[in-house]
Protein backbone atom coordinates (compact mmCIF):
# COMPACT_ATOMS: atom_id res chain seq x y z
CA UNK A 1 0.00 0.00 0.00
CA UNK A 2 2.88 2.36 0.75
CA UNK A 3 4.44 1.60 -2.63
CA UNK A 4 1.13 2.12 -4.41
CA UNK A 5 0.48 5.43 -2.70
CA UNK A 6 3.98 6.58 -3.60
CA UNK A 7 3.09 6.20 -7.29
CA UNK A 8 0.56 9.03 -6.93
CA UNK A 9 3.35 11.42 -5.98
CA UNK A 10 4.36 12.94 -9.32
CA UNK A 11 7.17 15.18 -10.46
CA UNK A 12 6.61 18.87 -9.77
CA UNK A 13 4.15 18.38 -6.93
CA UNK A 14 4.12 20.09 -3.56
CA UNK A 15 3.06 17.42 -1.07
CA UNK A 16 2.25 17.22 2.63
CA UNK A 17 2.49 13.84 4.33
CA UNK A 18 0.69 13.27 7.62
CA UNK A 19 2.29 11.58 10.62
CA UNK A 20 2.52 7.78 10.62
CA UNK A 21 1.72 5.73 7.52
CA UNK A 22 1.70 8.76 5.18
CA UNK A 23 5.29 9.65 6.08
CA UNK A 24 6.39 6.05 5.51
CA UNK A 25 5.29 6.38 1.86
CA UNK A 26 8.38 8.46 1.32
CA UNK A 27 10.71 5.48 1.24
CA UNK A 28 9.00 4.34 -1.99
CA UNK A 29 9.29 7.66 -3.81
CA UNK A 30 12.11 7.44 -6.42
CA UNK A 31 15.17 9.32 -5.18
CA UNK A 32 15.41 11.39 -8.36
CA UNK A 33 11.78 12.55 -8.44
CA UNK A 34 11.47 16.35 -8.26
CA UNK A 35 8.99 16.85 -5.44
CA UNK A 36 8.64 19.49 -2.75
CA UNK A 37 7.63 18.19 0.66
CA UNK A 38 5.81 20.72 2.83
CA UNK A 39 5.66 20.64 6.60
CA UNK A 40 3.07 22.72 8.48
CA UNK A 41 5.58 24.10 10.95
CA UNK A 42 7.24 26.11 8.21
CA UNK A 43 9.32 24.11 5.75
CA UNK A 44 9.15 23.67 1.97
CA UNK A 45 11.60 21.09 0.71
CA UNK A 46 11.82 18.79 3.74
CA UNK A 47 14.87 16.56 3.51
CA UNK A 48 15.55 13.10 4.96
CA UNK A 49 15.11 12.33 8.66
CA UNK A 50 18.32 12.46 10.68
CA UNK A 51 19.35 10.46 13.72
CA UNK A 52 19.86 12.20 17.07
CA UNK A 53 23.59 12.57 16.54
CA UNK A 54 23.25 14.49 13.29
CA UNK A 55 20.06 16.31 14.21
CA UNK A 56 19.76 20.10 14.15
CA UNK A 57 17.92 21.11 17.35
CA UNK A 58 16.07 23.79 15.39
CA UNK A 59 14.87 21.62 12.52
CA UNK A 60 11.92 19.31 13.06
CA UNK A 61 8.94 18.50 10.88
CA UNK A 62 5.35 18.80 12.06
CA UNK A 63 5.51 15.27 13.44
CA UNK A 64 8.52 16.13 15.60
CA UNK A 65 11.06 14.14 13.58
CA UNK A 66 14.47 15.73 13.13
CA UNK A 67 14.73 16.38 9.41
CA UNK A 68 17.31 17.94 7.13
CA UNK A 69 17.46 20.66 4.51
CA UNK A 70 17.90 20.07 0.79
CA UNK A 71 19.41 22.40 -1.76
CA UNK A 72 16.47 24.80 -2.23
CA UNK A 73 14.72 24.29 1.10
CA UNK A 74 12.92 27.35 2.51
CA UNK A 75 11.76 28.15 6.05
CA UNK A 76 8.84 30.44 6.86
CA UNK A 77 6.43 31.26 9.66
CA UNK A 78 3.21 29.39 10.48
CA UNK A 79 0.95 31.94 8.80
CA UNK A 80 2.86 31.65 5.51
CA UNK A 81 2.90 27.87 5.91
CA UNK A 82 -0.89 27.66 6.06
CA UNK A 83 -1.22 30.31 3.36
CA UNK A 84 0.46 27.73 1.13
CA UNK A 85 -2.14 25.18 2.21
CA UNK A 86 -5.26 27.36 2.06
CA UNK A 87 -4.42 29.10 -1.22
CA UNK A 88 -4.28 25.79 -3.04
CA UNK A 89 -0.52 25.32 -3.45
CA UNK A 90 -0.58 21.81 -1.98
CA UNK A 91 -1.05 19.45 -4.90
CA UNK A 92 -1.53 16.46 -2.64
CA UNK A 93 -1.84 15.57 0.98
CA UNK A 94 -1.73 12.02 2.28
CA UNK A 95 -3.48 11.65 5.62
CA UNK A 96 -4.29 8.94 8.10
CA UNK A 97 -7.89 8.21 9.09
CA UNK A 98 -9.99 6.85 11.92
CA UNK A 99 -12.96 6.74 9.59
CA UNK A 100 -13.46 7.75 5.98
CA UNK A 101 -16.92 7.75 4.44
CA UNK A 102 -18.08 6.81 0.96
CA UNK A 103 -18.78 10.50 0.24
CA UNK A 104 -15.26 11.54 1.18
CA UNK A 105 -15.99 12.67 4.72
CA UNK A 106 -12.89 12.27 6.87
CA UNK A 107 -12.60 11.79 10.63
CA UNK A 108 -9.04 11.68 11.85
CA UNK A 109 -8.63 14.04 14.78
CA UNK A 110 -10.70 12.86 17.70
CA UNK A 111 -9.51 9.53 19.04
CA UNK A 112 -12.58 7.40 19.73
CA UNK A 113 -13.26 7.23 23.46
CA UNK A 114 -10.73 9.92 24.34
CA UNK A 115 -10.88 13.61 24.93
CA UNK A 116 -9.65 15.52 21.93
CA UNK A 117 -6.04 16.69 22.03
CA UNK A 118 -6.87 19.24 19.28
CA UNK A 119 -6.73 18.94 15.51
CA UNK A 120 -3.44 20.73 14.85
CA UNK A 121 -3.24 21.44 11.13
CA UNK A 122 -5.31 18.49 9.94
CA UNK A 123 -8.49 20.43 9.20
CA UNK A 124 -6.81 22.81 6.80
CA UNK A 125 -4.79 20.11 5.07
CA UNK A 126 -7.91 17.98 4.58
CA UNK A 127 -10.06 20.85 3.40
CA UNK A 128 -7.63 22.71 1.15
CA UNK A 129 -5.13 20.40 -0.53
CA UNK A 130 -5.98 20.03 -4.22
CA UNK A 131 -6.03 16.28 -3.79
CA UNK A 132 -6.60 14.57 -0.47
CA UNK A 133 -5.80 10.88 -0.21
CA UNK A 134 -6.09 8.70 2.85
CA UNK A 135 -3.75 5.86 3.60
CA UNK A 136 -4.92 3.39 6.21
CA UNK A 137 -5.31 -0.26 6.96
CA UNK A 138 -8.61 -1.38 5.46
CA UNK A 139 -9.90 -2.43 8.91
CA UNK A 140 -8.96 -1.44 12.44
CA UNK A 141 -7.18 -3.74 14.88
CA UNK A 142 -10.52 -5.27 15.81
CA UNK A 143 -11.25 -6.08 12.17
CA UNK A 144 -13.91 -3.37 11.83
CA UNK A 145 -14.10 -1.43 8.56
CA UNK A 146 -12.48 2.00 8.55
CA UNK A 147 -14.30 2.83 5.31
CA UNK A 148 -17.89 3.49 6.32
CA UNK A 149 -21.19 4.62 4.81
CA UNK A 150 -21.30 7.60 7.20
CA UNK A 151 -18.73 8.78 9.71
CA UNK A 152 -19.78 8.45 13.34
CA UNK A 153 -16.86 10.48 14.70
CA UNK A 154 -16.64 14.26 14.45
CA UNK A 155 -15.41 15.22 11.00
CA UNK A 156 -12.03 16.69 10.20
CA UNK A 157 -13.54 17.92 6.95
CA UNK A 158 -16.62 16.92 4.97
CA UNK A 159 -16.31 15.46 1.48
CA UNK A 160 -12.59 16.11 1.26
CA UNK A 161 -11.13 12.70 0.42
CA UNK A 162 -10.73 11.73 -3.22
CA UNK A 163 -8.76 8.51 -2.92
CA UNK A 164 -8.16 5.83 -0.29
CA UNK A 165 -5.12 3.59 -0.23
CA UNK A 166 -5.39 0.51 1.97
CA UNK A 167 -3.57 -2.78 2.36
CA UNK A 168 -6.37 -4.36 0.30
CA UNK A 169 -7.37 -1.86 -2.36
CA UNK A 170 -7.40 1.59 -3.89
CA UNK A 171 -10.85 3.19 -3.75
CA UNK A 172 -11.95 6.47 -5.32
CA UNK A 173 -14.68 8.78 -4.17
CA UNK A 174 -16.91 9.49 -7.20
CA UNK A 175 -20.16 11.41 -7.61
CA UNK A 176 -21.90 8.01 -7.85
CA UNK A 177 -20.30 6.61 -4.72
CA UNK A 178 -17.15 4.83 -3.68
CA UNK A 179 -15.47 2.95 -6.53
CA UNK A 180 -13.11 0.03 -6.15
CA UNK A 181 -10.27 1.00 -8.48
CA UNK A 182 -7.37 -1.34 -7.77
CA UNK A 183 -6.74 -4.51 -5.81
CA UNK A 184 -3.75 -5.54 -3.75
CA UNK A 185 -1.96 -8.69 -4.91
CA UNK A 186 -3.78 -11.76 -3.63
CA UNK A 187 -6.93 -9.95 -2.52
CA UNK A 188 -10.34 -10.69 -4.03
CA UNK A 189 -13.17 -8.29 -4.75
CA UNK A 190 -15.35 -10.26 -2.34
CA UNK A 191 -12.81 -9.82 0.45
CA UNK A 192 -12.71 -6.06 -0.09
CA UNK A 193 -16.50 -5.82 -0.12
CA UNK A 194 -16.68 -7.82 3.10
CA UNK A 195 -14.11 -5.58 4.81
CA UNK A 196 -15.75 -2.33 3.69
CA UNK A 197 -18.53 -0.64 5.64
CA UNK A 198 -19.96 1.16 2.62
CA UNK A 199 -21.36 0.08 -0.75
CA UNK A 200 -18.65 -0.26 -3.38
CA UNK A 201 -18.99 0.32 -7.11
CA UNK A 202 -17.08 -2.54 -8.75
CA UNK A 203 -16.20 -1.97 -12.42
CA UNK A 204 -16.84 -4.75 -14.96
CA UNK A 205 -13.31 -4.76 -16.34
CA UNK A 206 -10.54 -6.60 -14.47
CA UNK A 207 -9.00 -4.40 -11.81
CA UNK A 208 -5.34 -3.38 -11.86
CA UNK A 209 -3.25 -5.08 -9.18
CA UNK A 210 -0.66 -3.43 -6.97
Amino acid sequence: MLRRAARDIRAGMTVNLGIGLPTQVLQYVPAGLAVCLHSENGIAGVGPVLDRVHADRNLIDAGGAYVSALPGTAYFDSAVSFAIVRSGRLDLTLLGAFEVAANGDLANWIIPGHLTPGAGGAIELAQKARKVAVITTHTDKHGRPKIVAHCTLPLTAPGCVQRIFTDMAVCDVTPDGLRLSELAEGVTVAQVIAATGAPLIVPQAPLPRF
Binding site: C36, G45, P71, G72, A74, F76, A83, I84, R86, S87
Partner: protein, 230 residues
Protein backbone atom coordinates in the same frame (compact mmCIF):
# COMPACT_ATOMS: atom_id res chain seq x y z
CA UNK B 1 14.96 14.41 -3.63
CA UNK B 2 15.61 17.36 -5.96
CA UNK B 3 13.20 20.29 -6.01
CA UNK B 4 11.31 21.02 -9.26
CA UNK B 5 12.90 23.32 -11.86
CA UNK B 6 10.63 26.23 -12.82
CA UNK B 7 12.91 28.23 -15.10
CA UNK B 8 11.22 29.48 -18.23
CA UNK B 9 11.70 31.86 -21.17
CA UNK B 10 10.05 35.26 -20.87
CA UNK B 11 7.88 34.97 -24.02
CA UNK B 12 6.60 31.57 -23.02
CA UNK B 13 5.82 32.71 -19.48
CA UNK B 14 3.85 35.79 -20.57
CA UNK B 15 2.08 33.89 -23.38
CA UNK B 16 -0.02 32.13 -20.71
CA UNK B 17 -1.78 35.44 -20.10
CA UNK B 18 -5.03 35.87 -22.07
CA UNK B 19 -7.11 38.94 -22.89
CA UNK B 20 -9.16 40.11 -19.95
CA UNK B 21 -6.81 38.67 -17.33
CA UNK B 22 -6.46 40.11 -13.84
CA UNK B 23 -2.79 40.82 -13.29
CA UNK B 24 -0.98 41.92 -10.17
CA UNK B 25 2.28 43.82 -10.52
CA UNK B 26 4.93 44.27 -7.86
CA UNK B 27 6.65 47.56 -7.22
CA UNK B 28 6.36 50.79 -5.27
CA UNK B 29 7.63 53.37 -7.72
CA UNK B 30 10.57 51.95 -9.65
CA UNK B 31 11.94 49.49 -7.07
CA UNK B 32 10.36 46.07 -7.45
CA UNK B 33 8.46 46.80 -10.66
CA UNK B 34 8.85 43.88 -13.12
CA UNK B 35 9.59 46.11 -16.13
CA UNK B 36 10.82 43.32 -18.40
CA UNK B 37 7.73 41.17 -17.82
CA UNK B 38 5.54 44.24 -18.42
CA UNK B 39 7.44 45.09 -21.61
CA UNK B 40 6.88 41.55 -22.88
CA UNK B 41 3.19 41.93 -22.04
CA UNK B 42 3.17 45.12 -24.13
CA UNK B 43 4.92 43.28 -26.99
CA UNK B 44 2.37 40.46 -26.91
CA UNK B 45 -0.49 42.96 -26.61
CA UNK B 46 -3.08 41.21 -24.42
CA UNK B 47 -6.10 43.53 -24.05
CA UNK B 48 -8.78 44.36 -21.52
CA UNK B 49 -6.53 43.74 -18.56
CA UNK B 50 -7.29 44.50 -14.93
CA UNK B 51 -4.07 45.74 -13.37
CA UNK B 52 -3.59 45.60 -9.61
CA UNK B 53 -0.58 47.59 -8.44
CA UNK B 54 0.25 50.02 -5.65
CA UNK B 55 0.77 52.88 -8.12
CA UNK B 56 0.72 53.50 -11.88
CA UNK B 57 4.46 54.21 -12.15
CA UNK B 58 5.47 57.42 -13.95
CA UNK B 59 5.29 58.58 -17.55
CA UNK B 60 7.24 56.26 -19.81
CA UNK B 61 7.57 53.48 -17.27
CA UNK B 62 5.90 50.15 -16.56
CA UNK B 63 2.15 50.56 -16.13
CA UNK B 64 2.35 53.65 -18.35
CA UNK B 65 3.40 51.45 -21.30
CA UNK B 66 0.30 49.31 -20.82
CA UNK B 67 -1.92 52.40 -20.58
CA UNK B 68 -0.36 53.97 -23.68
CA UNK B 69 -0.87 50.72 -25.59
CA UNK B 70 -4.56 50.59 -24.63
CA UNK B 71 -4.27 47.29 -22.82
CA UNK B 72 -5.77 48.33 -19.48
CA UNK B 73 -9.50 48.30 -18.75
CA UNK B 74 -9.32 48.64 -15.01
CA UNK B 75 -6.80 49.66 -12.38
CA UNK B 76 -6.96 48.76 -8.68
CA UNK B 77 -4.40 50.89 -6.88
CA UNK B 78 -3.60 53.08 -3.89
CA UNK B 79 -2.58 56.19 -5.83
CA UNK B 80 -1.77 57.29 -9.39
CA UNK B 81 -0.63 60.83 -8.68
CA UNK B 82 2.71 60.45 -10.49
CA UNK B 83 1.15 59.28 -13.76
CA UNK B 84 -0.68 62.07 -15.64
CA UNK B 85 -1.79 59.63 -18.36
CA UNK B 86 -3.52 57.43 -15.79
CA UNK B 87 -5.23 60.52 -14.31
CA UNK B 88 -6.32 61.66 -17.77
CA UNK B 89 -7.60 58.24 -18.86
CA UNK B 90 -9.54 57.93 -15.60
CA UNK B 91 -10.93 61.43 -16.14
CA UNK B 92 -11.95 60.56 -19.71
CA UNK B 93 -13.57 57.29 -18.67
CA UNK B 94 -11.11 55.24 -20.72
CA UNK B 95 -10.11 53.19 -17.70
CA UNK B 96 -11.96 52.51 -14.49
CA UNK B 97 -9.98 53.04 -11.32
CA UNK B 98 -10.63 51.60 -7.88
CA UNK B 99 -8.69 53.32 -5.10
CA UNK B 100 -7.81 51.33 -2.00
CA UNK B 101 -5.85 52.64 1.01
CA UNK B 102 -2.31 51.33 0.62
CA UNK B 103 -2.19 49.04 3.64
CA UNK B 104 -5.69 47.74 2.93
CA UNK B 105 -4.63 47.00 -0.64
CA UNK B 106 -1.68 45.04 0.75
CA UNK B 107 -3.91 43.16 3.20
CA UNK B 108 -6.61 42.40 0.64
CA UNK B 109 -3.96 40.89 -1.61
CA UNK B 110 -2.39 38.94 1.24
CA UNK B 111 -5.86 37.82 2.33
CA UNK B 112 -6.39 36.13 -1.05
CA UNK B 113 -2.90 34.68 -0.79
CA UNK B 114 -3.77 33.22 2.58
CA UNK B 115 -6.86 31.56 1.12
CA UNK B 116 -9.36 33.60 3.07
CA UNK B 117 -12.52 35.36 1.90
CA UNK B 118 -12.07 38.73 3.52
CA UNK B 119 -11.25 40.60 6.69
CA UNK B 120 -12.79 43.16 8.98
CA UNK B 121 -11.00 46.43 9.61
CA UNK B 122 -11.85 49.84 10.98
CA UNK B 123 -9.71 51.70 8.45
CA UNK B 124 -11.60 54.41 6.62
CA UNK B 125 -14.67 54.47 8.85
CA UNK B 126 -16.05 57.99 8.66
CA UNK B 127 -14.49 58.60 5.22
CA UNK B 128 -15.43 58.02 1.57
CA UNK B 129 -13.36 54.81 1.64
CA UNK B 130 -15.95 53.05 3.80
CA UNK B 131 -18.94 53.97 1.66
CA UNK B 132 -20.89 51.04 0.33
CA UNK B 133 -18.93 48.47 2.30
CA UNK B 134 -20.85 46.08 4.55
CA UNK B 135 -20.50 46.54 8.30
CA UNK B 136 -19.55 43.53 10.39
CA UNK B 137 -19.87 43.27 14.14
CA UNK B 138 -16.86 41.65 15.86
CA UNK B 139 -17.51 41.24 19.57
CA UNK B 140 -18.34 44.67 20.90
CA UNK B 141 -16.71 46.48 18.00
CA UNK B 142 -17.84 47.17 14.50
CA UNK B 143 -15.79 47.18 11.33
CA UNK B 144 -16.08 47.16 7.59
CA UNK B 145 -15.73 44.08 5.45
CA UNK B 146 -12.79 44.12 3.04
CA UNK B 147 -12.82 41.38 0.43
CA UNK B 148 -9.85 39.24 -0.58
CA UNK B 149 -8.26 40.48 -3.78
CA UNK B 150 -6.83 37.71 -5.92
CA UNK B 151 -5.68 37.62 -9.52
CA UNK B 152 -5.03 35.31 -12.42
CA UNK B 153 -1.37 36.28 -12.64
CA UNK B 154 1.26 37.92 -10.50
CA UNK B 155 4.31 39.46 -12.16
CA UNK B 156 7.08 39.72 -9.61
CA UNK B 157 10.53 41.30 -9.68
CA UNK B 158 13.16 39.57 -7.55
CA UNK B 159 16.81 40.38 -7.00
CA UNK B 160 17.68 36.71 -6.79
CA UNK B 161 15.87 33.47 -7.51
CA UNK B 162 16.80 29.84 -7.44
CA UNK B 163 15.49 27.46 -10.08
CA UNK B 164 12.77 26.20 -7.69
CA UNK B 165 11.36 29.72 -7.42
CA UNK B 166 12.62 30.70 -3.99
CA UNK B 167 12.96 34.48 -4.19
CA UNK B 168 14.85 37.27 -2.50
CA UNK B 169 14.18 40.98 -2.91
CA UNK B 170 16.51 43.93 -2.45
CA UNK B 171 15.78 46.72 0.03
CA UNK B 172 12.54 48.64 -0.67
CA UNK B 173 12.02 46.64 -3.88
CA UNK B 174 10.30 44.03 -1.71
CA UNK B 175 7.09 46.04 -1.11
CA UNK B 176 4.09 44.25 -2.72
CA UNK B 177 6.07 41.47 -4.43
CA UNK B 178 5.84 38.79 -1.70
CA UNK B 179 2.11 39.49 -1.33
CA UNK B 180 1.13 39.25 -4.98
CA UNK B 181 3.26 36.10 -5.33
CA UNK B 182 0.90 34.50 -2.81
CA UNK B 183 -2.33 35.87 -4.22
CA UNK B 184 -2.34 34.89 -7.89
CA UNK B 185 -3.34 31.58 -9.43
CA UNK B 186 -0.14 31.73 -11.50
CA UNK B 187 2.96 33.59 -10.38
CA UNK B 188 5.74 34.56 -12.77
CA UNK B 189 8.94 35.99 -11.31
CA UNK B 190 11.70 37.78 -13.18
CA UNK B 191 15.07 37.67 -11.44
CA UNK B 192 18.25 39.66 -11.80
CA UNK B 193 20.29 36.64 -10.74
CA UNK B 194 19.42 32.96 -11.08
CA UNK B 195 21.00 30.57 -8.63
CA UNK B 196 21.02 26.79 -8.41
CA UNK B 197 18.89 25.26 -5.62
CA UNK B 198 20.58 26.06 -2.34
CA UNK B 199 21.89 29.35 -3.71
CA UNK B 200 19.59 31.10 -1.26
CA UNK B 201 19.99 29.77 2.29
CA UNK B 202 16.71 28.39 3.71
CA UNK B 203 16.53 31.10 6.40
CA UNK B 204 17.11 33.82 3.79
CA UNK B 205 14.20 33.08 1.44
CA UNK B 206 11.67 35.92 1.22
CA UNK B 207 9.12 34.15 -1.00
CA UNK B 208 9.09 30.34 -0.76
CA UNK B 209 9.15 28.38 -4.00
CA UNK B 210 5.66 26.83 -3.66
CA UNK B 211 4.15 30.25 -4.39
CA UNK B 212 6.07 30.66 -7.65
CA UNK B 213 5.12 28.89 -10.88
CA UNK B 214 7.73 30.19 -13.31
CA UNK B 215 11.03 32.04 -12.96
CA UNK B 216 12.59 34.02 -15.78
CA UNK B 217 16.21 35.12 -15.72
CA UNK B 218 16.76 38.70 -16.91
CA UNK B 219 19.74 38.73 -19.27
CA UNK B 220 20.72 42.35 -18.73
CA UNK B 221 18.96 45.01 -16.71
CA UNK B 222 17.51 47.80 -18.93
CA UNK B 223 18.06 51.39 -17.86
CA UNK B 224 14.50 51.78 -16.56
CA UNK B 225 15.51 49.84 -13.45
CA UNK B 226 18.13 52.45 -12.61
CA UNK B 227 18.14 55.53 -10.45
CA UNK B 228 15.53 57.99 -11.75
CA UNK B 229 16.97 61.35 -12.83
CA UNK B 230 14.35 63.90 -11.91
Amino acid sequence: MPLPDKTCGIAEAIARILDGARIMLGGFGVPGTPFCLIRELVRQGQKGLTIIKNDANETGMGVDWLLENGQVARLITSHIGLNPRAMQMMNDGKISVEFVPQGILAERIRCAGAGMLGFVSDIGIGTLMAEGKPTVRVGDRSGILETALGADFALVHAARADTFGNLRYAASARNFNPLIAMAARHTIAEAETMLPPGGIAPDDVHTPGPFVDQVVLLPELPEVYGVVER
